[in-house]
């Protein structure tokens, strides 16, 4: 039995050689070293230490076209390349496992069901950047992931995959499982670094970028769990293989968390460029809209990404470029589906409440702006909207966007701006009639 009952497409991954991240996640002993090794585990790590130079590892990842899977989509190999050459300071790798973008629940599956896959990817990345102490920062609420990662780490140490002089190569690597305290902002890399140093989780002004001055003022790379898990497969199969997956600019596969009003919510691994419509309606994935109701809209990449309307869903593809063309973002790959019985104002009230709650308070536009946005949306939702409120929302959004140290301010604003643009009639109706156009009442059954 698994800790989390979440649905995956592991069966498809087992028979499709292109899919790799979820291949063994329905195997109930995959979290144990013996099973992981039986499934070719630590083969890539042995290959790396058996003769690859750090530069050739980094070059392979760069060539593969792998991009950050946490949300920003920055090319991973290029990020590693920002570590200053010849630095005498210690270098650190932090695996970002602070998964908390609403809608996102994919990294959790990797940590719970395939923790050695994460450790192996972290180890390879550490070697590539010359790091001898690597961290995984796991959100504190994920008690089960923390236990699984700690157990896997102990197994990896005792079998000699971590520690001193690994496989006789002379390379030393230590690992620390670090737990957070419940703050969404710590998923932002500079806030994560501050939090890891024991500070409040507040973002830092860049430059300097973490690759130059990060943890303990030393060169630091922060990569998402899924990104690092993919690195192992790139080393095993080669960059050229990885490039054959996905699209030209969005290489590889991606884990998507499908939630909300679908018949079959779950986590699914597909090649980038996969049709969004198929993800939502195909019986192998979402299986269609709950209650066969009409689709109202989709947030494709986590709570901070702009909405897609049903006509956009018809043609949208799940890759970085296609969703940008649609005016949205791939983000963390968290697809949230809304059916026709959802009030847009009610939805945005949930979202802005979250961002107001999670704003760290450092930058005035975000700290105060998210509060104002929540107040205004709250009064519209509760029938006290004023004629000037939509203009006020537009103005406040415009004054937050791009004016904060970290992207949390932008994250709060982007779904609101898109909802105001795409569903303006409904907002206006709310203000004019002092009630919802559709009542959002969802039973728990």
């Amino acid at each position: 039995m698994f800790y989390s009952p979440v649905t995956t497409n592991a069966n498809e991954c087992a028979s499709n050689p292109k899919l790799h991240l979820f291949r063994h996640v329905e195997d109930t002993s995959q979290h144990l070293l013996a099973t992981y090794v039986k499934h070719d585990g630590y083969k890539a790590w042995r290959k790396v230490l058996g003769g690859m130079t750090p530069e050739s590892v980094a070059e392979e990842v760069k060539k593969s076209g792998l991009r950050g899977r946490g949300g920003a989509g920055f090319p991973t190999g290029m990020k590693w390349g920002f570590i200053p050459k010849g630095t005498t300071k210690p270098r650190y790798l932090c695996c970002n496992a602070d998964e908390s973008e609403p809608g996102t629940c994919k990294d959790r599956v990797l940590m719970e069901r395939d923790p050695h896959g994460v450790i192996e990817g972290m180890a390879i990345a550490s070697y590539a950047i010359g790091c001898h102490l690597m961290f995984i920062y796991i959100r504190g609420e994920f008690g089960h992931c923390i236990e699984r990662m700690e157990a896997a780490m102990r197994e990896a140490y005792s079998a000699g995959h971590l520690g001193k002089n690994i496989y006789g190569s002379g390379f030393d690597l230590e690992m620390i499982v670090h737990t957070g305290g419940g703050a969404y902002i710590c998923g932002e890399e500079t806030a994560l670094i501050n939090s890891l140093e024991g500070e409040k989780g507040m973002a830092r002004i860049r430059p300097p970028f973490p690759a130059i001055e990060g943890l303990y003022a030393c060169p630091t790379i922060v990569n998402n769990v899924e990104t690092l898990a993919a690195v192992t497969h790139i080393i095993n199969n080669g960059a050229d293989w990885y490039r054959t997956l996905g699209t030209e600019k969005s290489a590889g596969t991606k884990l998507f968390s499908l939630s909300g009003h679908v018949k079959r919510p779950g986590n699914f691994e597909v090649e980038l460029g996969f049709p969004l419509k198929k993800m939502i309606y195909d019986p192998a994935y979402g299986g269609g809209i709950l209650g066969d109701r009409k689709l109202k809209g989709v947030i494709p990449g986590g709570a901070s990404t702009p909405f897609l309307t049903p006509d956009m869903v018809e043609t949208a593809k799940l890759d970085y470029e296609s969703l940008t063309v649609c005016g949205s973002m791939l983000g963390s790959g968290a697809i949230i589906v809304f059916h026709e019985g959802t009030c847009i104002v009610w939805t945005l009230l949930r979202l802005i409440h979250f961002f107001r709650h999670e704003s760290c308070g450092k930058c005035t536009p975000c700290r105060d702006g998210t509060g104002w946005l929540e107040q205004i949306i709250h009064r519209i939702e509760h029938g006290h909207g004023r004629p000037e409120d939509l203009q006020a929302l537009d103005d406040i959004c415009g004054n937050i966007l791009g004016r904060t140290v970290c992207p949390l301010g932008d994250a709060a604003v982007m779904p609101i701006q898109s909802a105001l643009r795409l569903y303006r009639d409904e907002w206006q109706y709310h203000i004019d009639h002092k009630k919802c156009m559709v009542e959002s009442h969802f039973d728990f059954k």
Binding site: G143, E197, K200, D443, F444
Partner: protein
């Protein structure tokens, strides 16, 4: 002293692995909260002494993060995710159901101090909504029957 010898030992072992002691603040707070169910000023002081970090820095971190309540809650802290994916699948009515079953409102504790009910932000169980966390465990894909069973089991524990 509130922390047990075992907790102190765990904190020291964790702290020893970091290049800088201050990094052990969150791990130490986590160990303390797991033992005590709250972390107040006295506990901050103890942690400050164990890991040799100024008290103010412990307090500063502890009060920024949400996972270290200063006061004891009910024995079972029920945290219902009320963010968007859970809300779309009935988190509000789950909260209402729990309020009725427990005879308390959200934010309250039962008179026997057994259950505290609160709502929280996304817990990363979006594809298994609705869900709740009780103390350190997740309960996912909830139905009224599942909730009944969970509460009955917790009530039966002395």
């Amino acid at each position: 002293m509130m922390l047990t010898a075992e907790s102190i030992q765990v904190i020291k072992e964790k702290a020893a692995r970091y290049p800088r002691r201050k990094s052990a603040i969150l791990p130490a707070l986590t160990v303390a909260y797991r033992q005590l169910g709250y972390v107040d000023n006295d506990v901050y002081r103890e942690i400050s002494e164990i890991i040799s970090v100024p008290l103010v820095e412990i307090a500063e971190a502890a009060t920024f993060y949400t996972m270290f309540p200063k006061e004891q809650t009910g024995r079972y802290l029920i945290q219902v995710c009320n963010n968007i994916s859970c809300a779309l699948l009935g988190a509000d009515s789950l909260i209402g159901y729990l309020e009725k079953k427990l005879g308390i409102k959200k934010g309250e504790t039962t008179p026997d101090k057994k259950f505290t009910l609160i709502s929280v932000e996304c817990l990363g169980s979006c594809a298994t909504a609705p869900m709740m966390q009780i103390n350190h465990d997740f309960y996912e894909s909830l139905t009224p029957a599942k909730v009944d069973k969970i509460l009955d089991e917790l009530r039966a524990k002395s």
